[in-house]
Symmetry: C2
Subunit: 230 residues, 2 copies
């Protein structure tokens, strides 16, 4: 494998409900040379949600989080660790009060982030003649570790898990249960380029050979029966 | 921010106890142009441990894991989720049976991975006149999500957490408790380039402006009193 390059997409205007996000991302891809086969595009959840109208004005953000959750795992003070309708476990059920359209507004997760990713992928494939793998990313906290990392909440055109079971190590010994969450690693890598406060809602990753596959971000969710930390 | 480029270091020979890892990594950096100020070098834990002699032959790998743990969080069948002496929560206390020197051998975590990172950083600074930030990375599983991602278990020359509290979002609203585990994101990004079974034990990351700081990977460990998933 050679170099892997991550390029920020800049100049995307503030996204509003009903905006054609595929077109806006396409416009931002033009000055950096568009897309090639094998590229990955990581798109921040925030702009996906805004384009889909998943925003609302509220004076009760906690109530919105509880409404968006299908289960609450832990509560401590203002912190609610919730399970979303998609099965993701994260703070506030993914309901966010920063980078919103205004004070008192919240941004919710897309209803079906895989479908969001598929829509962006299809729009870009039409425009550039090459279909990128698309990842919708969001910042999640983790058990046992401080700080957030970006993870994949929606994917299109890739399998989010790279299963190396059966592969051999450098000595020829079969690797033990080694399944790598590549979509999460790609999302986290892109976050480094996006930053938080700058207006870079998407990153093109070139040079990563995406293994063939077409999965769902739900593949990343630990099945309930294997969850040791319910 | 411009592009971020990740370059694999290839041609590193099999690492053995007592090997000068800084020199081996320096040799592998030469053909890709060495180091510049601001570069980050992510080094796989496995080669760090081997160079430090943290390997042993055993017919009881589970016993070694339990010895290396200071607490066991969960056990299910062969799976032991343990807390290491460093405070990390991971499978088997980081004791690994793949990519070892031979059948029946295990590789343990470095005793002080921050010190390992500092040693590599110092050696490379002497050789190239530019001190990279260094991250020692390992693959950890996560609660609630399938697959592993690489995270930082040792750091030198950077603060592993980027604290954006007090920074403003694009609308000028102060960001809420936003602390990003950049060292984990850099480690995960590098894993994409390292792969698992190929002999790429380190990756140079160029173009990420490392914020000034000098922390410890222990900064990434959730303090016990804030751990909601003991």
């Amino acid at each position: 494998m050679g170099e892997l390059r991550m390029t920020p997409l800049e100049g995307v205007p503030e996204v509003r409900p009903g905006d054609d996000l595929g077109a806006l991302l396409g416009d931002a891809l033009e000055p950096v040379g568009g897309l090639e086969e094998g590229d990955v595009l990581v798109v921040a959840q925030k702009v996906v949600s805004k384009s889909e109208g998943r925003i609302e004005e509220t004076n009760d953000p906690l109530g919105v989080s509880l409404r968006e959750a299908r289960a609450v795992r832990r509560i401590r003070g203002d912190l609610v660790i919730a399970e979303t309708e998609h099965g993701f476990v994260c703070a506030s059920a993914g309901v966010d009060r920063s980078n919103t359209p205004g004070e008192g507004w919240v941004v919710l997760l897309p209803r079906d982030p895989d479908a969001s990713a598929r829509g962006i992928r299809a729009a870009l494939a039409r425009r550039f003649g090459a279909a990128p793998a698309v990842i919708v990313s969001d910042s999640f906290g983790r058990a046992w570790r401080q700080g957030t990392t970006d993870v994949a909440i929606g994917v299109a055109g890739l399998s989010p898990l790279l299963d190396l079971r059966g592969a051999k190590d450098t000595r020829g010994r079969e690797l033990e249960a080694t399944v790598i969450a590549i979509a999460d690693e790609l999302a986290g890598a892109a976050e480094l380029v996006m930053g938080k406060a700058r207006r870079v809602p998407a990153v093109r990753i070139r040079g990563y050979r995406v293994p063939p596959g077409d999965g769902s971000a739900r593949d990343l969710v630990m099945p309930r029966e294997r969850d040791l930390f319910p």
